[in-house]
Each structure stands twice: as C-alpha cells, then as structure tokens.
C-alpha cells in the first residue's frame, strides 16, 4: 500500500497508520522503512519468523521504543510525535504480551479493574466497584468468569480473557495479541476467536501475532508479512494459502508433499507390547521398523511424552514389554537406554535438552565422553574438537565458535546441536519429542530434511508432535493417542489431513 493512500481521504478510518519506521539496535537493523496500518474494527495479522521485527514494530507503536528519525506515526488520523507508553495507552493502544503480565495472587476482578480504580481520590480501593467493572466488561465479551477467585486458579485460556478484559477497561481501540493461541487447545482457540469477533463488533481492532498459519488465515482479514526487518507486503487473508504465507515469511518455496512410505516389510527395530504405567498410559502396542518415521500425535496430556520417558528409561512401566532389535529392554535408567541405542530429543530444549550456559562443544561431547579419552584416561581436547567439527559440518549447524554458549544460537541451530549430541551416540532408535518447538518455519524444513536423511540411512524414528501437518508431510505412519491410549493409526496420503485433525481435536 502506497504512503499516499494512508494519508488520504479515508485516514479517519485508520486506528493506526505508520510510515517509514526504522529501528537500529547496536548496529543491527531491526526494522527498515516499514509501513503498517490497521483499520477500525479490523482483525489484522502480523506474520513473520522470530527476529523479523514483529516485536520491535509493536514496541514502537506502543511507545516502548522510539523509532529512528523520519518515521511518521498517526493514530486515528492524528500525527503523534514523541510517543511514550503512557500516551500510547491514552490513544487506545493495548498490548497483551505472551506472558500476559497478570497478577496470579489477585482476584479476577482486581486484575481486570485495578488500573481503572487507581489514582483517584480518596485513595481507597473500592472492591465493589472493581467487581462491577469486571462483570460489566466480561459480559460485553460474552464470557462468564468467577470474578472473586484468585487468578492462579484459572486456566491459561481464561487468563487470556482476563488480559483482554483489562485492555477493554482501559478503553482500547486497538489490541495487540502476541502468540495468544500458543498454549490453547482447539476449543479454547475457538472461544478466543469468538471474543475477538465481539471486539470487532464493538469497533475495536485486533492485531494477532501468531506462527500458526492456519489460524492466521482463518481469523485475519488482512495479513502484514515482515521478513528480516522489512515489510514483504500486506495481503487480504482470502488470497493466501498456508504454503504461500510460509513462502512469504521465509522467502523460500515450500512444497507440501506427502512422503509416507510403506516400510512394514523392513526389519522391526522397536516392538512395544501392552505397555502400561498407572495414571499415565495403558495398553500401548506398536512396531517401529528400520528407516521408518512413526509419528505420534494427540492433545497435550494424552500420554505421549510419558511413553517416550519410559522408552528412554526415565520411568519404569508397570506392565508390558519393549524389545529393541528383538532383544528385551530392561532399562534401569536412561544410561541403560543410551547404551542400548536409544536417543531422546526432549520437548524441553531449554531445561532438559541442552545445558544452555555451557559451550556448544561441551553440549555435543557430553553423550560420548568415553570416546574422547586419550592418555591416562583423560579427555583429549583434539578429539573433542574433531567430533564437534564433524557434526557441525554434517548437520550444517551455523555457529560462531565451538566455545560459545549454546544459548547464543537460534532455536533451529540449538535443535541441530541436540541432534548432533544424540546422533554421536550412534543410536538405533531416535525419539523426537516436539522437535520444532521454538524453531522458525524456515529452520523447521532444515530439521525435517535431516530427520528424513537419517531415516533413509536406516535409523528408526519415533516423532511426537502437536503439529499434525508436520507429521502428515514427514511421517510414514501416524499414531493417535488420547487419554493414555492408542486410539488410531493413519497413513498420510491415504487419510486426508482434515480427517486426522478432526479425529485428534474431536
């Protein structure tokens, strides 16, 4: 959209219109000459990979950061200079960050209404007025919440509503929501969308920041795409497909192909028979063949990670058996599992997958210290350098120096380091638990390419994921878990993806 349009006759319909916004942090150009506008009552989506400048843009229009000189910020057609967080709020700009910034120990009513009831005189807190305000706003949103209960007793979806209600109390004209659906179930996401529609009916605009492309296209009217700090363009959501949007965000073509192969004739690597563990999962039986990528999906809490923990020797099953290459597995600890040839990429890369403050080198070497011993049984730094160098090359990990803290790497490169440390153990079975959590779309393709290459070499791979499209396009078979049981099996290509999604979210 050209700058002239924004400044033109329909300027009044813009709740927000900014032009030529740039921002430089310590020599890094976070935003380069970006234009962005939101119409009254519009549902707009801001899409882009991590580090594309989404957060910086939000922080500029909400007054947290000042843009570089030359930027023009207009709110409801009025040009504003020297925006501060306070003036931005007065102009009706509200940002709901992912952490929500609520007070867990305070009641729902206090969380919603405390700001509106501060600063007046006399300086007494009027709890009854707070409750009234809160109830009124919640009613407007069409949501019933217990206003007297402390916030910590509420689920994440309800907290989200509380944060939105608080924005409404502050007379928001435009609400930014940062990854609001990240931890919501499908049903909760529906409910949130319902709330967004109510806001729209009231003439309040919403800007979604989300990486779930399907949702983006469902809820948004227009999508602004950023890449590397530049605006790629603004598109009507109706004209985009998921693939097209992914291409715009990453600048690379993404083909969605089904790669499922029939590997039931290949030798069985893992055989699980009637596995059960009280309160976690029940009667789990399946076979995993050499070279096969077996997907496991299901809602959070379906017991997927719990089964993985048992396969990795972290918990003991109550009943049932596991065989690897035909030999019974008796696992006293995860060290037994590693020795037997099992590797486990945890879903929690930050606190379980990697020792974040320590070096890339040490994080790769930790699983194979035995093989790095030289004279007198001491670790040989030359061997460690060779090992790390080999894996950095093989998995195409982009690093500065091997001595840098692993925390300095991007999510995608960290996940490659995790893969490196486990592949170094030369496993027979690789368990991937949500391998793309916190990994950009562009980097995900790279991770899956590695996974498929490993499968082609004969590694048996068990891949747990929430993201059904990822499994659909990469796995050979998909198992569906619900409430601790295996309830279905799908062949990508044979069953349409919609059928799997419907079954999982039913």
């Amino acid at each position: 959209m050209a700058a002239g349009d924004v400044a033109g006759g329909d300027a009044a319909r813009h709740v927000l219109a900014v032009e030529h916004v740039s921002k430089v942090f310590g020599g890094v150009r976070a935003l380069v000459d970006v234009d962005f506008d939101v119409l009254e009552g519009e549902v707009h989506c801001l899409a882009g990979e991590n580090g594309c400048g989404k957060s910086t843009l939000i922080k500029i229009v909400s007054g947290v950061h000042a843009p570089e000189p030359g930027a023009v910020l207009r709110f409801a057609g009025e040009r504003v200079e020297g925006l501060t967080p306070v003036t931005a709020r007065r102009l009706g700009i509200q940002v709901i960050w992912q952490d929500l910034a609520l007070f867990p120990e305070m009641t729902v009513a206090e969380n919603i209404a405390f700001e509106a009831n501060l600063g007046g005189r006399p300086r007494w807190v009027d709890y009854r007025a707070m409750r009234r305000t809160a109830s009124r706003v919640l009613e407007r949103l069409g949501v019933a919440l217990p206003t007297g209960r402390p916030l910590r007793e509420l689920g994440i979806a309800q907290r989200q509503v509380v944060a939105i209600a608080r924005a409404l109390v502050a007379e928001a004209r435009l609400v930014f929501m940062d990854e609001p659906t990240a931890s919501l179930t499908q049903a909760e996401t529906r409910a949130l969308f319902e709330v967004v529609h109510r806001l729209k009916a009231d003439g309040i605009a919403t800007v979604f920041v989300s990486h779930r492309l399907a949702e983006v296209l469902e809820i948004a009217e227009r999508v602004t795409v950023l890449r590397d700090g530049r605006k790629v363009g603004v598109f009507p959501a109706g004209e985009l497909t998921q693939n097209r949007l992914a291409e715009l965000m990453t600048g690379e073509a993404h083909e969605a192909v089904v790669r499922a192969r029939d590997l039931t004739a290949a030798p069985v690597v893992l055989e699980v028979d009637g596995l059960a563990r009280g309160g976690e999962y029940e009667d789990i039986s399946f076979r995993l063949h050499a070279g096969e990528i077996l997907g496991v999906t299901g809602l959070l809490g379906a017991g997927r990670t719990e089964v993985a923990a048992t396969l990795f020797g972290l918990t003991a099953p109550d009943r049932g058996g596991m065989r690897l290459d035909g030999r019974d597995l008796r696992l006293g600890s995860n060290r037994d599992a590693i020795r037997a040839g099992i590797a486990y990429v945890s879903e929690d890369r930050l606190s379980l997958g990697l020792v974040q403050p320590q070096s890339i080198s040490r994080n790769v070497a930790i699983t194979v210290l035995d093989r790095l011993l030289g004279f007198f049984g001491l670790l040989d730094p030359a061997r460690e350098r060779r090992l790390v160098g080999d894996w950095v090359d093989r998995l195409r990990i982009r690093i500065g120096r091997p001595e840098d803290a692993v925390a300095t790497l991007s999510g995608g490169n960290q996940q490659r380091v995790v893969l490196a440390k486990w592949l170094a153990t030369e496993p027979r079975l690789l368990i991937l638990d949500s391998p793309t959590v916190g990994v950009d779309i562009g980097a995900r393709a790279g991770i899956f390419q590695i996974v498929r290459e490993l499968a082609a070499e004969g590694l048996a791979i068990l891949m747990i994921s929430d993201e059904i499209p990822e499994l659909y396009h990469n796995a050979d078979r998909i198992l569906h878990m619900r409430a601790g049981r295996l309830v279905g099996e799908f062949q990508p290509g044979e069953a349409p993806i919609e059928a799997i999604e419907a079954a999982v979210h039913a």
Binding site: N334, V355, Q358, R362, A365, L369, L378, E403
Partner: protein, 328 residues
C-alpha cells in the same frame, strides 16, 4: 602468528585481569612499605597460604557443582583428630613413621566419609547443599568438642614439625603440597570425565542427567573429594601447630568462598578455573601480609579484604559493560 597468540589469550581474561591486579598490589606495597619486597615477606606468605589454599580447593568443587560445603573446616579438624588419635595410640612422641602414615590414611578416610555422607544426602535426597553441609558442620563441631572437651591434642613425634615448617630446595613443604593439590585439581576439572560432568551438572543438573551422565555419582564424588581435600588441610594444620584443636581455621570458611568468587567462579555453579582461584588466593594473602607489614591491625586487614572483594565485583561489572558496548 598473531592469530595463534589471540587464540591462546582468548578465554584467559580472568587470569590476565588477576595478574594485572597482582602487579598493582605488589607495586603499591613495594612503594609504601620499605620491607615489603624482601624474601622474608614471600617466605611468610608461602607458609600461610597453603592451609587457606587447600580449604579453598575443597570449597571449589562443590561450588562448581552448584552447591557449597560449609563443613570444610570442621572436616579438617576431625580428620586431624583421627590422625592425632592414631599417633597417640601408636606411642605419642615416640611414634614411628609407619604410625604417622597410618594416621594420615585415617585422616583422609575420615574426610572422605564426612564428604561422602553429605554427597549421598545431596545426590539422593535432593536436599539443599547449604543445609546438608551446615548440619554436617554442626555435627562435626559438636563431636569434636565432645571428644576433646574443647582442649588441644598434642604430643607428636618431632619429625612431624618438619612437614609443617621444612623446605625443599628453599620452597616450603606446605606450599609444595598446595601446588601438587592445585595441579591435581586443574587436571581433574579440566581434563577428566568427572570434571566435565561437574561443570555440566553445576549449570543444569537435569539436562546433564538426561544426557546420560550419572549425576548422583558425580555429586557424591564431588563431596567425597571435597572432604578428602579438607582432610589434607587438617593434616597440614596438625603439622604446622604440632597440635589439633577443634575450631582451628574456622575463620577461613567464608574466606574460601570469597576467594572462589574473586577467582571468577560463578556463584551458581558451572564455571570457574583452578588456576584463577589459586591466583586470587595469592593476591588475598599478599594484601594481608602487606597490611601486616604496614603495621595495620589484623582485623583491619580482614575488613579490607571485604572492601577489596566488593571493588572487584564492581570492577568486573564495569568491565563487562564496557566489553559489551565495544563493537565486535
């Protein structure tokens, strides 16, 4: 050539900084205190440093693993008591070399036991190391005072004093013991599987366990070795004072913690190097000796250590800010 040089220097910032600091300290006392730059000063430093040094090494391991061992000084005392007891049983002043050796072994075993109990509780029960070692410290102090009725145990064969006061090629024997212990620690931490695992466990115990490291064994070993090193300090104290007294060296406890931090050890575990810690110790001891020569009261010297440590922390912060802002 230059690339190789920078590679060697890289990661040595902590040591370089401490060396510069050491030079400043030497110049300051050299200029202000006429008798400072004399052999006698360094002789006295060389004899005083090892007790504190060995105890600091005993403290270093638990801190790197993300914990703490508050029982080091009383472990040293109890180990010394065990040795004294064996020597008295073996004839007191007339005891032979064999008896003394036996006593040494007994002291080391007692140290290992004290550490081992703490290690097992920390590793298997998951109790906080500060509480566990505090309990052990109180237990050992009470036990020691009960056994000695608060008095000194003395009456050892004369040759024991030569360990505490003798020299080899002009180098005080205690200093040699500290050097050997420090080199051992340096190799253990820098090049052994155990050392590697200690650093990793110190940064993130769970992630280390998930990677297939037996973190319980590592933690037990950390406290066993800490106890053994405390025992070595206890043996050295026995030879230096020709007696054992429960409570001796108690004041060193917190100084060992401070020496570790001065040497760049991360208070939350996972990072820190033996060489830097030893250098930090030398600086602390030099300051104490210098102040002593200037005629400052001993307690004032202790107070100045505190000031000095705060100054170092602020200095490091400034240095990091400056580094962070510098381009590249």
């Amino acid at each position: 050539m230059q690339a190789a040089f920078t590679r060697i220097l890289r990661g040595q910032g902590d040591i370089l900084g401490l060396l510069v600091f050491f030079a400043v300290v030497l110049v300051f006392f050299g200029l202000t205190t006429p008798r400072f730059l004399a052999a006698g000063t360094f002789q006295s430093i060389a004899f005083q440093l090892p007790e504190l040094g060995l105890l600091t090494l005993a403290m270093l391991l638990p801190i790197l693993s993300g914990g703490l061992n508050l029982a080091i000084t009383f472990t040293a005392n109890i180990a010394g008591l065990a040795m004294a007891w064996i020597i008295q049983l073996g004839g007191g002043p007339e005891a032979g070399l064999l008896v003394v050796l036996l006593g040494t072994v007994a002291a080391l075993v007692v140290g290992a036991l004290a550490g081992g109990v703490m290690g097992v509780v920390v590793a298997f029960v998951g109790a906080h190391p500060i509480l566990v070692s505090l309990a052990m410290m109180i237990f050992l102090r009470g036990l020691g005072e009960f056994l000695t009725r608060g008095g000194d145990i003395s009456g050892f064969p004369p040759f024991i004093a030569t360990i505490g006061h003798g020299t080899v090629l002009g180098i005080p024997l205690p200093l040699l013991i500290l050097l050997v212990a420090a080199v051992l620690w340096q190799v253990l931490l820098g090049r052994s599987r155990f050392g590697f695992s200690t650093y990793m466990a110190g940064s993130n115990l769970e992630a280390t366990r998930y990677s297939g490291i037996d973190t319980r064994r590592v933690l037990v070993l950390v406290y066993v070795l800490s106890g053994v090193m405390s025992a070595v300090a206890g043996i050295l104290m026995l030879t230096r004072f020709n007696s054992v007294r429960v409570g001796h060296g108690e004041a060193y406890l917190l100084i060992t913690v401070l020496a570790c931090f001065l040497g760049g050890v991360d208070p939350f575990g996972g990072f820190g190097r033996t060489a830097a810690v030893v250098l930090a110790l030398v600086i602390l001891q030099t300051i104490a000796s210098g102040l002593n020569l200037m005629g400052a009261h001993q307690h004032l010297a202790t107070a100045l250590w505190g000031v000095f440590l705060i100054a170092v922390m602020v200095g490091r912060w400034v240095w990091q800010r400056w580094n962070w802002r510098a381009p590249g």
